[in-house]
Point group: D2
Chain length 182, copies 4
């Protein structure tokens, strides 16, 4: 089983990049699971514009669509901005949905995570984040995991300081993998 992991944020020190890297490491502990982490910064996309689409379709969107097509599942950790989906993630999904001849999402499983310095852990935004993926016929796993107080959640080596939080994520990922294997 191939899993792709990335964050819906571009910032270098993003808590969501840290959180999804923890998920990526957990995935690697499962026998038969091959996990790849990528950073959306390496797939630069302009803000979606139909004129750019006609003139010079961005190569990064093609590459991302090919990567999704090639995997069984995607784990995304994404911030909530203004109560809704992060612009960087929505922009990426919209570009990917326009790649000619590609329709990478149907049947792919998605696990949504979120990290935020606040008390709610981006969960409100994650409910909105489900929608475009479901509109594109991906199967979004019902349970989602929000990490609150993310600014103080990570040790210097990137691990979650709170072993309970680590264990909850480990259990969730275990259930997610088990569901896909069914």
């Amino acid at each position: 089983m191939k899993v792709l992991c990335f964050a819906g944020s571009l910032r270098q020190g993003s808590y969501n990049k840290k959180y999804v890297r923890v998920a990526h490491k957990i995935l690697q502990t499962f026998a038969g699971v091959e996990s790849e982490y990528l950073d959306l910064l390496d797939y630069p996309l302009p803000v979606y514009n139909g004129d750019i689409e006609s003139k010079e379709f961005p190569q990064a969107a093609r590459q991302l669509a090919a990567k999704v097509k090639d995997c069984d599942a995607v784990v995304i950790s994404s911030p909530e901005n203004n109560g809704a989906m992060a612009a960087a993630l929505k922009n990426t999904i919209d570009w990917m949905s326009r790649v000619p001849g590609e329709d990478p999402w149907p049947g792919k499983w998605i696990l949504l995570l979120g990290a935020s310095p606040g008390a709610l852990g981006a969960v409100r935004g994650l409910w909105h984040t489900r929608v475009p993926f479901e509109a594109l016929n991906a199967i979004v796993y019902p349970t989602m995991s929000g990490l609150p107080r993310a600014h103080e959640a990570f040790a210097a080596d990137g691990a979650l300081k709170d072993s309970g939080a680590h264990e909850r994520l480990n259990t969730l990922i275990g259930k997610f993998v088990e569901q896909i294997r069914k």
Copy 2:
């Protein structure tokens, strides 16, 4: 009363730019209403990234925030992409919400329009588009107007071919203006 009109799309020939320009013209027929149309292409913004925010905050976001602050109401026509909010619009709102020392939305009235070549006129996406504006404490007018089959809706001079559709938009804008004046 000052109203700002723009589309949530960047494409030059955007149906949403056409639709909001019709709204802009209708607004100018109301005594005491001053309407300004702007094109988001003239306010170029990178995809939101916290590192860009710290290093070189985009001037366009400051200018847009100042324009919103200076008006009473905003009319936005926005496409639906993958069942949800257009990335260009979400990106613009998120950047504006980060302008230091500015909080332009509280108490502003927003009228949401949408145009799409499909049968539903982008209405599904508009319900998601309400959320970040409401999270920022703007008052989104309950009624919204979706223009279906937008690819065949406009005459060469930009007017709506269907006088019924024009009249419905005229009535909606009349009610919107009346509500704000209360």
Copy 3:
């Protein structure tokens, strides 16, 4: 200005009944505001069924619609059940929307509150609760107030134990009243 207050819950000891009663008391301190509290238990409605609608339209729905029509604003505190709107509130709204010859919501202002024993204070459900009211053309105030840990929030006399929570609700209601008066 006439305001109607009720909870979206039927339970006698409902935290939402307690919370909206606090709001009702605060409203009474504003000069020129007349507030009425009602309990949905006194307006019993069957689960919505189109056959009951045709045969014996429930009198309680007519009475509630008349009450809403007669006021300027409505303050509702409603629980979140399974991440979404409370069935009792949705049922009440749906019945009211079917009262022949009545359309009480257009132009009415609504303030949504929520109370829950959990940490999030029913806020997630409130975002769903906005939708049917907005579909019925009521103007839902953008800011909402969720009371977390509601099981330990109230003193024996019904007041909020935490003066900060009381003050925040007082400020919100002040802004709501001021907005309607504009």
Copy 4:
């Protein structure tokens, strides 16, 4: 594979009962699929009230929870009321979620259908209908099927008049069954 089919409407002549019965008949044509149709009218529930819950927990909720627990998948056709979820369906789900010692939804697959006399086929409401099921950890199939103009869609024997509409539902159910079997 056991599938349970029901409508989120109580009305005897409900278009959603008709639509889900078509789905039920289609399901019976798949080898190895056992489908059961039930009518929520046979499982009468009061409007959810925590006091009724404590005093006399409704037997119908227990029976429905046991039925869901016993099956692999559920097909629900539900109307949209005021842009959101039908009260009868929300009430049923909320009662089922309170059955002591039962948690029937995790891992169950749900296919959501909708029928309405309007042009949109209840699709807007279905997006809200996903939420409580996903909050309860059911896996809601991403594709949904709305039947527009439902008042003229059915022949006297209950079949869909439009063979294209029948074929689309047949294809969707085929994909749904195939997904569950994976």
